[in-house]
Symmetry: C2
Subunit: 478 residues, 2 copies
Amino acid sequence: MSHEINTNVSPGEGIVQKAKRAKTAAIKLANATADEKNEALLGIADSIEKNRDQILAANKKDLEVATGLTEAGKMSKALLDRLKLDDAKIDEIVRSVRDVARLEDPVGKTLSAIELDEGLELFQVSCPIGVIGAVFESRPDVLVQISSLCLKTGNAVLLKGGSEARNSNEALFEVVREASVSNGNGSEGVGGVPDGWVQLLETREEVGEMLKLSDYIDLLVPRGSEEFVKFIQNNTNIMVLGHSEGVCSVFVDRDADLKMAEEVCYDSKVQYPAVCNAAETLLVDSAVASEFLPRMVERFLEAGVEVRGCSRTLGFFDGAGDGEGDGKGDGKEKGKEKGKEKLKPASEEDWRTEYNDLIISVRVVDGVDEAVAHINRYGSGHTDAIVTENKETALKFLRFVDSSSVMQNASTRFSDGFRYGKGAEVGISTNKVHARGPVGLEGLVIYKYLLLGKGHAVAPYTGSNAKPFSHKPLSKSF
Amino acid sequence: MSHEINTNVSPGEGIVQKAKRAKTAAIKLANATADEKNEALLGIADSIEKNRDQILAANKKDLEVATGLTEAGKMSKALLDRLKLDDAKIDEIVRSVRDVARLEDPVGKTLSAIELDEGLELFQVSCPIGVIGAVFESRPDVLVQISSLCLKTGNAVLLKGGSEARNSNEALFEVVREASVSNGNGSEGVGGVPDGWVQLLETREEVGEMLKLSDYIDLLVPRGSEEFVKFIQNNTNIMVLGHSEGVCSVFVDRDADLKMAEEVCYDSKVQYPAVCNAAETLLVDSAVASEFLPRMVERFLEAGVEVRGCSRTLGFFDGAGDGEGDGKGDGKEKGKEKGKEKLKPASEEDWRTEYNDLIISVRVVDGVDEAVAHINRYGSGHTDAIVTENKETALKFLRFVDSSSVMQNASTRFSDGFRYGKGAEVGISTNKVHARGPVGLEGLVIYKYLLLGKGHAVAPYTGSNAKPFSHKPLSKSF
């Protein structure tokens, strides 16, 4: 829905004023101490608990309108579910804010230190990015999540949620704002958590306007459907941190432990199919296809997975396939029987499709090179796995697959900020700049260079008799 | 000129084919060894030396056309100068390519390593970004520079130079391509330096087309005037690594060593005014203005610098200024005399202007807070310096000035990739994502995650009886 927003509007006064206020606040917030930020986060968590009834009442208003729309066929049931808050959801929101408070402060870390010459020292120090634009659909809990991540990293944030969650968002926003601000109108140069650091945009038109505010917004973080994220990416020249899609593959190599392969493939597809790191494609080395495929396909079919195969895959199930005629093993025979009835042919489009569902496309390939070529051609650069015991083959796959996460003998479902130990996940990025793959707090910080001298001028370091630089690493922090 | 390019064209076959070839080559180049890449770089350097005469002959053709245009008033003399190659320029190009070969390989470094659970190890490893789009004006040496930086970092590159340098660019491109490619048609999965890694776009229309190729180009690196860079930034949704402008300030605090302040200000403005890290604004604390300003202004005027002052600054030179009536010091009196005649009033516009020339705007402010507010309001977030002996004041300035480089007691002119010890400078970025400030090879690499397991599935780590992750840091490399 939101991707039909009109972008041919010029930024109105309202949103520009909000963006300016956010930018002013950002500089102060960047200098809030870890304690100040954590205190604000814990204040938000407490306040959400305290205002639970008001928040649920606001959400109820949204749900009433949404239920009507759903009954009239104008809103999906899934969207209605995402919109809904209840006590358990509130508990989860509160817990996640407290979790963010417990994370290490990513701001103010010395990333490098070097002496340029005697008494002239350069420090590269992590700092917030500035102003984040967060755009999200339906789920009101995202408002709290993204606000708490921005607060923790010292960034101001402009929030724009879905209009269907308007009442819920307003209630949550007020709680976040009121509970976090420590110095309402602090004078220039004062840290703490300043008023203005978090702003709520209220009208639908404001999204289109927001995408034009490259003078104020340093990074856009969209949350929602792939279509929604793509719409944002295609309608702004502000950097977007978001993943386009997850067309993930598992390749079962000729040197795979086939029992292990079965478990990895099963987990990658079946454990939770609705998410971007679930596998959509199974690639099988022709050398082991006849042994592996019937068993695997049977297991998929039993789990209710629709299997779409390439012609070679289908061949294993109609007797016209590559060899395979010894008939040993009951499972295999049974698999062949079942598969014969149930397998569908895969189209060219299937190789590029993120099903997010219990469907898998299967292709037989002649070895790792063909698997890599398939993935780099049809995949989305998200997560791909090989199952093999052969180190050399694994190394080739790990090196040549151009994806943000490449795995050996592990389920693609591990590709996730929490599992990767990041504490909090800002998103999974299929960008190839700034932050790639599962992104934690590090995706919301950048750095600045601080140079401390004793009156150093550049002139002596130039010309034919130039003084040399020492460029000596320093083992101290700023 | 180039910013008048028509962007309302749909990508033609030609450029899409070139982009596809570059993307295919990128995956192979990403896996070239440091030795293979360095050998290719040294080959390029040798070949430029060997083909010096042909390159200069091609450049002569461009110069003939350009000289005609200059005489007809259709091209600036400055542009003609930038277009010109001679033996010294060629020597410099050759030397700089050899310098790049000597730099450490930024690809394949283990940035982090962590155990998720027993036998499940996650490595974050640096890798090339993929395909770089380089757009540049007039200077043909940029073609070689950006190609060598891309080659060193394992990135494929689409090059688009100015049409006025067409013959020079073609000659240099052929040398770069022929001398670098080690395996013309290597099969899938072979490293080395593959054909196709470097592509030359030839027509003016191709720039507009290039800006739309977000499916193939991962990062744009424009080189040219600020206007040109801004045009690129405003007409693409591909990430652009480029600086918009450098409106740099030096603030002389009340606790400054005023002799040191004079040297830092002088160097920041006068040492080389045509560049982005030269100072455009001098901010002086009112507490020391009467002592510092007359002397400083005199020194600027003697160096031929035009001085534009705020009303308080002008006040010091017409007798109506803030106090200052003891009359000690000849220099100061002389400065006041000179200043009275020569000072011009600064307009609001001056505070935002990058002169790139011997002009400076001067403002008297009441302390560090006002200086910080001025810089964050009018500056461009490039480089700003404070001169002070007061640690607390310095810390406030270093923390609250929102610029990529912030300095204490050092000239703004130090803000530069070579001076910062980066070996090679890709550019100075005023972006607040990906890479900020002087950018070396690190701006052309990103990372991928490699997860090595033993058949690990996600299922056991989920649900009510979930296995915990260890998230133990590992002290080994991939």
